[in-house]
Symmetry: C2
Subunit: 255 residues, 2 copies
DNA sequence: TAGATTGTTAATCGATTAACAATC
DNA sequence: TAGATTGTTAATCGATTAACAATC
């Protein structure tokens, strides 16, 4: 994972488990796609498949929201879009600031997925004076000196940090002091924040390291398979890495 | 959660739980910082604090790797750096390709955190012919027609997808067909992959939606607190959102 | 009514945490 | 030896899943 809350127990929020909250945006995206194709209803099986989860989990997740389905029929797509949007707080407008307008900050500013979900980039902020006034994605870059003013006048409660690692904690402190209570951190730094402030982090390097771990393991499995049974038919790539019971001797799929 | 494996049960890999694997890079980063400051040893308490986890969890995590600490003393920083690096597979070189060289792809190409962890950008790949031959971060961009050749000649097993959502599945299919078995996906798409292929996804929009959910909840709590006890002293921001038992009536911290 | 599909139960599994014996 | 800190145990908690009664 590249993400997680800092310094707060994973208590249920209004009775909805964190794991469920994290999947709601996934369901919402799949439902929005169905809505655009004017599909009126969808079964838990179909929707789960589109979202990449299993249907039991999806039904369990939805049961925390209420009983929005119809037995024997499925879920009304439009109704469910609305209910999930409401639950996630997407029926209101969320102004955000992006601090650190390098390559990554610019990429986020240009990302189209914001506006459609009620997120509005209230300002782009950078410490480099020569950036001030320049436009990125049609939004003028403002100097970090104005950070507090920008947050107050726009009522911003969500901040995105895309600065280098060295500046992240300092920026975070200023954001929090100015009243920000949710932070999305792209800098490779563990941010220290007071209780009541949520931090989620996205860390490219960590994601790659986790993939490397599994790659290494696959390579080791292939090797041990060859060594243990050199003349056994090779299991095709699509079935590798899946075998159930743990242990050094890999199981073989029945033919 | 911005991340997660697709279509594979969270089985333990070589006995190390997924949750532990996901934290190893965090420990490694903190240890590397200590190493650069020439700190010889560190206690579980200190290291846990630097990594933003509690010390019991850290010791439990390390216990899966082996007994690398010394009771009464702590952990040898250099030794632990080596052991974790080895466990994660970072003592070898991992060539990666980045497909889709827009703002985000360029940001990743420029990201310095790759090389230091054994990841090497073998190629930047884009479908736009006018990009071909141009350099990004000193690396020439090559046309997607060359994708298979690039992967084979460089022995690439990890691919990063930074294309628009519409192109992601198609690119993924080609990567997998060419032999890629680990994918880091930045496109807002649920990728369908055969078993044995690991996918981790980083989804900005999902992270923001999860933050919005918690923001909304904090706002609702503040409101109910004011309504329920308008003249009660306000709990400072640092203590909000933390109260234990669920229910509609917020608990009050003892003074 | 028959078929389909939800919503819920209960079992299982994995992750977290406090506590403390082991031991440097 | 006394103090410090690890490694492990056991309790607890949260998440997943299959199965199926409820019901459209």
């Amino acid at each position: 994972m590249a993400t997680g809350r800092n310094h707060r127990p994973a208590t249920r929020s209004r009775g909805i488990p964190e794991a469920t909250v994290a999947r709601l945006p996934l369901y919402l995206r799949a439902l929005t796609a169905l809505s655009e194709r004017s599909v009126p209803t969808v079964s838990s099986e179909e929707l789960a498949s589109a979202a990449g989860v299993n249907s039991a989990k999806l039904r369990k997740d939805f049961s925390y929201l209420g009983s929005y389905g119809t037995r024997g029929v499925g879920y009304d797509v439009e109704y469910l879009v609305y209910q999930i949007s409401r639950e996630l707080g997407l029926t209101q407008d969320w102004p955000v600031v992006i601090v650190g307008i390098g390559n990554l900050g610019a990429a986020l500013a240009n990302y189209g997925g914001f506006a459609s979900r009620g997120f509005r980039v209230a300002a782009l902020i950078d410490a480099d004076p020569s950036m001030s006034g320049k436009q990125v994605a049609g939004i003028p870059v403002r100097h970090v000196d104005e950070l507090e003013t920008i947050i107050h006048t726009n009522g911003v409660s969500i901040g995105v940090i895309t600065t280098p690692g060295g500046a992240a904690q300092q920026v975070c402190d200023r954001l929090v002091a100015a009243g920000i209570t949710s932070i999305l951190n792209f800098a490779p730094t563990v941010l220290q924040v007071p209780e009541g402030v949520d931090v989620r982090k996205v860390d490219l390097s960590i994601e790659l390291q986790i993939l490397a771990f599994h790659e290494q393991r696959k390579a080791a499995e292939d090797l041990s398979r060859e060594t243990a049974a050199p003349d056994r038919m090779r299991v095709p790539a699509e079935q590798r890495g899946e075998q159930g019971p743990e242990g050094d001797v890999p199981a073989v799929m029945p033919a």
